[in-house]
Symmetry: C2
Subunit: 216 residues, 2 copies
DNA sequence: CAACACGTACGTATTAATACGTACGTTTTT
DNA sequence: AAAAACGTACGTATTAATACGTACGTGTTG
């Protein structure tokens, strides 16, 4: 590692900034170049440093420009700067939004100092870092979603195939040509599928099939 | 911790079982009570122990009864037994299936001994454990999926409303009654939506709307 | 003020989907 | 061997969707 990791601290509470600073300064490879109390100030400071900052440790819940918006702006204006999200809450929605906005990592405030340091170093290398609590939340949410799916209504292979084509916008006629069948057969399949799934028509059939994970 | 963690090792390769054993036995809190070379044998051994096993460390890729099926059976027959998945591959599909089957944790074989021990202890406490490589795969996949969504095709509020009703299986006529409109207007909306989204018909419209996250 | 998007709505004609019954050979299950 | 599920297919009639053009009041934006 050549030189220290130039770090910018952003949080609206001074006490928290002080806490983070004291944790990060224990590591000799980390250099906190500045602090900001909100997103706007952070952007100004980054500009003042000509973008020569490696990592921004950023609180999500801030007054004014939100952490998510700030992250989005930073990652667009300065793609080289890595953002490490920091929060008290491990809500699913927040995490996903931060990731979408361009943050590389996400650490909980009550996660301990070592997680913070590890996270900072990891994102500095351009890799993703999610603290354990965060990943558990995410993965559990993900698995739950998956579980709520996987209701295949006892559709046969052929029937799933038909649903797939229907969802791609093909008519019975077009499907029949594609898989060399009578369009009447495709029609029968469609009817049977609708019956099996207990839906009213094709539109609902497609909707439910996708939501329940019948289609990949 | 009262007594050692009674552990059962399941893997079809003896060499790997030996390797895992040597790693786990370094920890004084872990006691490997038995080994099995496949799912069937594992179930027999568990029965012979009257279910008095704390954690089963289970390879996913096994001949005969698969790791996923074995996990499912174990977690149904012996809900108290915790399963820690073990694999060489970090494919998304495998991980999700293991979670669905009831595994509490998931560790990669090339993840190092400390991960294995940490994972075992964590699932023993009834908590989830996913090794870093695994979570990165999962979370990245998840974030990507989220990102691939959020294309709203510039649909208006009214149009999104129509799509929602259509996906619920309502006809133009039914929608028109529901929101007090002429069915001809609903029809026009439907036509405009299809045009805006660049799809061929209602079925594809619904499919794409759901996949792209237009509907919640 | 003109242009544009939005939501509303109709006319006319064509195409596609739906409803319901029926049928039959093949494979799978009991 | 009998029963059930699967995939195949047709007849007939009705309902819904699609295509394409047109129109008009309201609000917004250039």
């Amino acid at each position: 590692m050549k030189g220290k990791i130039r770090t910018l601290l952003v949080d609206d509470h001074k006490i928290i900034r002080d806490g983070i600073r004291s944790i990060l300064e224990m590591d000799e490879n980390i250099n906190i170049v500045d602090e900001a109390k909100d997103g706007t100030e952070a952007l100004n400071i980054i500009a003042r440093h000509n973008g020569k900052i490696d990592v921004v440790v950023l609180d999500i819940n801030m007054p004014g420009l939100s952490g998510i918006d700030t992250t989005e702006i930073i990652s667009k204006l300065y793609p080289k700067i890595k953002v490490l999200g920091l929060t008290m809450h491990k809500q699913h929605a927040y995490i996903v939004k931060m990731m979408e906005a361009g943050a590389l990592g996400y650490v909980l405030k009550d996660g301990g100092g070592d997680q913070l340091i590890e996270g900072l170093k990891t994102v500095f290398q351009g890799k993703n870092y999610y603290s354990t609590e965060v990943t558990n939340t995410l993965v559990n949410g993900f698995v739950k979603k998956q579980q709520s799916k996987n209701e295949d209504f006892g559709l046969t292979k052929r029937e799933v195939e038909i649903v797939k084509y229907v969802s791609e916008g093909l008519s019975n006629e077009e499907i029949s040509k594609k898989i060399e069948l009578s369009s009447r057969t495709v029609e029968t399949h469609r009817r049977n599928i609708i019956k099996k799934m207990g839906v009213k028509n094709t539109a609902q059939m497609v909707a439910r099939a996708i939501k329940k994970g019948v289609l990949k």
